[in-house]
């Protein structure tokens, strides 16, 4: 397809050759919304975005996977509850748990799918104020040793977009204590907790650091002029982090 054509969902073009040679998969479920944005973020970071369709059971040799935001299956039943059973998710769960430790990033609905898949602990319930909320949100990077955060400094504050209806992170006290003790809280909300999440948690990682999930949207903060306040690009670091990780340059 020509470079000026609008890509259809599930058909991402890569107009320029990927700089790193890395192939990063972006999964599309029925109802996924931010897949084109995630693919753009991958491209801007210098990698090739590979479209992965939920019903396929083939990871297409990708080096990492982004599960983007949206309302997969309309969030009916419970956010992420149906998507978790897609053939593609079985492959992703196996690859994330394998020795190869496939890097997986779940954003918003993707985070919800990761918790439903038990790749990450806890769950998301409706925001405490009961409304959908879209705002520019400040986060603190609590763990910069994961596959998706190594280009940030520990304690660094970044501004990316928050937009969700079911963003309140909950888990039992024991899990929350363990997450904090093991340094597995990857991001926390700064200044104001926008949804009532336990212990201001915005995002978490698994113990190996290859699977990261968060509610806010780094893929909406990768291009000057189209990000938070129309200037911010603080989200690009997620995507350059995974490229660094893939070439073995993890800090």
């Amino acid at each position: 397809m020509s470079a000026t054509e609008l890509p259809l969902i599930g058909d991402y073009s890569t107009p320029v050759a990927a700089l790193s040679g890395a192939r990063i998969g972006v999964v599309t479920f029925p109802g996924t919304l931010d897949d084109r944005d995630a693919a753009r973020a991958v491209r801007l970071a210098g990698a090739e975005a590979v479209s992965l369709w939920h019903a396929d059971a083939d990871l297409a040799d990708v080096d990492a996977v982004v599960i983007p935001g949206g309302f997969s299956y309309g969030d009916y039943l419970r956010a992420g509850a149906i998507s978790r059973f897609a053939p593609m998710m079985s492959k992703i769960i196996d690859a994330a748990n394998s020795d190869a430790k496939l890097p997986v990033l779940g954003i918003c609905n993707g985070f919800q799918i990761l918790t439903e898949s038990h790749l990450l602990p806890g769950s998301m319930i409706k925001n405490d104020h009961l409304k959908f909320l879209c705002r520019d949100q400040v986060l603190r990077v609590e763990n910069n040793a994961t596959a998706w955060t190594n280009q940030y400094a520990k304690g660094e504050e970044i501004t990316i977009v928050l937009k969700n209806q079911d963003g309140q992170y909950v888990a039992d006290e024991k899990t929350l204590d363990a997450l904090e003790a093991e340094g597995r809280v990857a991001f926390s909300y700064v200044g104001w907790n926008p949804n009532g999440s336990r212990r201001n948690i915005a995002g978490i990682t698994n113990a190996a650091g290859n699977v990261v999930g968060l509610m806010p949207h780094p893929e909406h903060a990768v291009e000057a002029g189209f990000g938070p306040d129309h200037t911010g690009t603080d989200g690009l670091g997620f995507f350059t982090s995974v490229l660094t990780h893939l070439v073995g340059g993890q800090k």
Partner: protein, 775 residues
């Protein structure tokens, strides 16, 4: 026998076939309950040469409703097509009459946009009414072959402190958000107005915009004998039956039973899947014609597709997939169940069509085929229940030349000016009084911060939003390679239009033109949503006729064609109509959205010069300031379209040549509100003096701050560009005055010699209003 079979048997037993109708001419039909007038029913009988069947009656009743047929407004709406210059036609690829107009953007790109009302459904059931308003307008955009890229929502509610307003606003905003957010469409702007005139008749208008390559434009017609007709998407249910006829074409009245079942219920997930599925169909050129199912459902889709194509179609109604198997043929024909599309597919594409449906898990059923008989034949289990000329249903409905006359009270209203009234006495004069007045204005319901609403909408999804509310226009990038993009603004002022419908409508157009130009885009095309009371009231009919005449005259003068829109009548409670509210949506074009102009100055604009473009007159009638004091009378601000054009050219050129860093149009609330909004946008202060302005225009400080004179804008100009900017304005002989400078070190808006307003104090007042009333 199964329940479904039994029902089919029963239905067959009760079936009113064409043969039966011919044989039983005396049968009483419920035409009045379905919203038809006696003369209209008689016309149906004349057209058919016999009494209609129950199914035909259902079709005519919805398609001949005010909502679908434009029977009261059509005579006047013709002016939008007549008052068009050759220059205005240049970029119009598809004009009025299709699902939405299409405008050429260049580089092979086209843009389609349309604004529609969903007022009555929202009054009755705010969440679903507003949600399906978004759903319907988005399907219009898909029907043109475009990918929808953004939505907007001009909203008008009753008094902010009326208990019912909270019911409506919570439901409507959550509905618009719940549906639009789930579609992945950024909501980039709109309007919010509170006025008791909208108490029983909130206005929920919805705009959608889509983009496509020229070769992808699709039209709603059924051509090619033997091509198959398919219905796909959601199943047909009992929701929204008669929505167009009994909801949107009558006034409300407490004595009538609840009309809630006439409101449709939305499923945004189904629509999102439908969008992607349709775009794949278009990409593979798998459909010959396509039509969304909105008002009047299958009645509308079959009759419009057939009459716009080769003129014939034959369908079997028992093939329609149903949610509720007990629906009668008439109900199936009238149902406005959402998330449905009808397409015409050539036989060789059937297999590929079905594969696309299966990929997206979308249900479909083949209903019949295109014929060349000139008749629309609908069968039920093989028996003919509809046999009509589709044009008589879709296009040749009744047409009324409703009587209209300038209301007797109009002169007295216009004579009651603000400054001559009791409310206009004791106007603020001292610095402290002016400061208090500005804070009160910016905290007032119509001028306060709207983020309680806009934060419930996703403005980022898609990654192409270059500007969104509260900026003057929403800006969307279309082409990532070149930065080609569009700007959109919607505007209306019911108070101005009430005072003077002809000029009030023009003021709405002027403001939308100004807003688009202020963002830096070149205005190109208009879509309008005309919200009025009952056309059977000569006063209201005069307002409508005058507004259309004013709008069409002004479109011709500004050189921007109307490409589509919608008329919403009967917005009244008992005999009290709403203010006439013509909402104008303006589309503009950017060669590169990088050049867009935001509506406030940032800290790095420190020292930039603040200029006011345009002339300030003593124009307080109909203003927000007068509104706060409870006064409405006099004449609205003067319209000066030549000045609007020059101002627009200055703003567009200044943006393109990098002469200005920020700009904001002056409209409701005047200069005071505009300065306040610019300073609050990024929390950066400014020092301003009004002396030169007051001396040049002969006005006092109060008038300078609160007058709503038109064709004005504020711009912030970098020091290095001041000479060039001044030269440009002077060369165009446009009034410009330097008001002051941006002061990054300051946290206040200082009006020298008058007051020093702390931005934190202003922000608190500005942002507290909506949360105070709505939580």
């Amino acid at each position: 026998m199964s329940a479904a079979e039994q029902t089919t048997e029963q239905k067959k037993f009760n079936m009113d076939t064409v043969a039966n109708a011919a044989a039983t001419p005396e049968t009483e039909l419920p035409w009045a309950e379905l919203g038809l007038k006696q003369n209209e029913f008689e016309e149906v009988v004349k057209v058919l040469g016999r009494r209609p069947t129950a199914a035909e009656l259902a079709m005519y009743s919805v398609m001949w409703s005010e909502h679908c047929s434009y029977k009261s407004s059509k005579n006047h709406l013709r002016q939008f097509g007549d008052k068009v210059s050759e220059e205005m036609k240049k970029d119009m690829l598809v004009g009025i009459g299709e699902n939405a107009g299409v405008t050429n953007l260049g580089d092979g790109w086209a843009v389609t946009f349309k604004i529609e009302s969903h007022n009555s459904p929202t009054m009755i059931e705010p969440y679903q009414g507003a949600a399906t308003g978004i759903g319907g307008i988005v399907r219009d955009i898909i029907s043109m072959g475009a990918r929808p890229v953004a939505v907007m929502d001009p909203l008008r509610f009753g008094a902010i402190d009326h208990p019912d307003t909270a019911r409506v606003i919570h439901g409507a905003v959550a509905g618009i958000g719940g549906y639009g957010n789930s579609l992945g469409l950024p909501n980039i702007g709109g309007e919010m107005v509170f006025d008791s005139v909208y108490q029983g008749n909130p206005l929920v208008n919805a705009l959608a915009v889509g983009v496509m390559r020229h070769e992808d434009i699709r039209l709603a017609n059924a051509s090619g004998k033997g091509n198959k007709v398919v219905l796909f998407g959601a199943r047909t249910g009992g929701d929204g039956i008669g929505g167009a006829s009994i909801l949107s074409s009558e006034s409300f009245d407490d004595t009538k039973p609840s009309k809630r079942p006439a409101v449709q219920v939305g499923d945004p997930f189904a629509e999102k899947v439908l969008i992607e599925c349709c775009l794949e169909l278009f990409k593979g050129s798998l459909v010959e014609g396509i039509q969304d199912l909105g008002a009047a459902g299958i009645s509308c889709a079959t009759s419009e597709l057939a009459s716009n194509g080769d003129g014939g179609m034959e369908v079997e109604l028992t093939s329609v997939l149903l949610r509720d198997p007990t629906l009668t043929p008439g109900e199936i024909l009238m149902s406005e169940s959402q998330e449905r599309m009808m397409a015409v597919v050539s036989p060789e594409n059937i297999e590929a069509f079905e594969a696309t449906m299966d990929k997206w898990a979308v249900e479909y059923s083949w209903l019949g085929e295109v014929t060349d008989t000139g008749r629309l034949i609908i069968k039920w289990d093989g028996e003919v229940i509809v046999d009509v000329d589709p044009r008589t249903v879709a296009h040749d409905g009744p047409l009324y030349d409703r009587p209209y006359a300038r209301p007797e009270w109009q002169d007295a209203l216009q004579a009651d000016t603000f400054k001559s009234s009791e409310a206009g006495a004791n106007l603020p004069a001292t610095g402290d009084e002016l400061k208090a007045a500005l804070v009160e204005l910016m905290a007032s319901p119509n001028m306060c911060d709207k983020s309680w609403i806009t934060n419930q909408y996703d403005r980022y999804v898609g990654g192409n939003t270059a500007l969104a509310a509260p900026d003057d226009a929403g800006v969307i990038r279309v082409d990532e390679e070149t930065g080609l993009g569009v700007a959109l603004a919607t505007d209306a002022n019911g108070r101005y239009t009430f005072l003077d419908p002809y000029h009030g409508a023009q003021l709405a157009l002027a403001e939308s033109y100004r807003n688009v130009a202020t963002s830096g885009a070149v205005p190109m095309a208009v879509s309008d949503c005309l919200n009025f009371g009952s056309p059977e009231d000569p006063d209201v009919m005069w307002q409508l006729a005058e507004a259309i005449r004013g709008l069409s005259d002004a479109c011709l003068e500004l050189g921007v064609p109307v490409t589509g829109g919608n008329v919403s009548l009967y917005n009244q409670t008992g005999s009290t109509p709403i203010h006439p509210t013509p909402v104008v949506a303006m589309l503009g074009k950017f060669d590169d959205v990088e050049r867009r102009t935001p509506s406030g100055w940032r800290a790095d604009a420190d020292g930039q010069a603040i200029y006011l473009l345009g002339t300030t007159f003593d124009e307080l009638d109909g203003s927000e300031f007068a509104n706060i004091r409870g006064h409405l009378g006099g004449l609205p601000p003067k319209v000066d379209l030549a000045a609007e054009k020059t101002l627009g050219a200055i703003l567009i050129n200044a943006s393109r040549d990098g002469m200005i860093d920020s700009a904001h149009d002056l409209s409701e609330g005047g200069l005071g509100a505009a300065l306040g909004e610019m300073a609050l946008r990024y929390g950066v202060g400014a020092r301003v003096a009004l002396d030169d302005l007051c001396e040049r225009d002969g006005v006092d400080a109060f008038t300078a701050l609160f007058s709503e004179s038109q064709a004005r804008a504020i711009v912030a100009v970098p020091r290095s560009e001041e000479v060039r900017f001044n030269d440009m304005a002077t060369a165009r002989q446009f009034p410009v005055v330097r008001l002051g400078v941006v002061d990054a070190a300051s946290t206040s808006l200082e009006i020298q010699g008058q007051f020093n307003l702390d931005l934190a104090e202003l922000r608190e007042a500005h942002e507290a209003t909506l949360p105070k009333y709505f939580g």
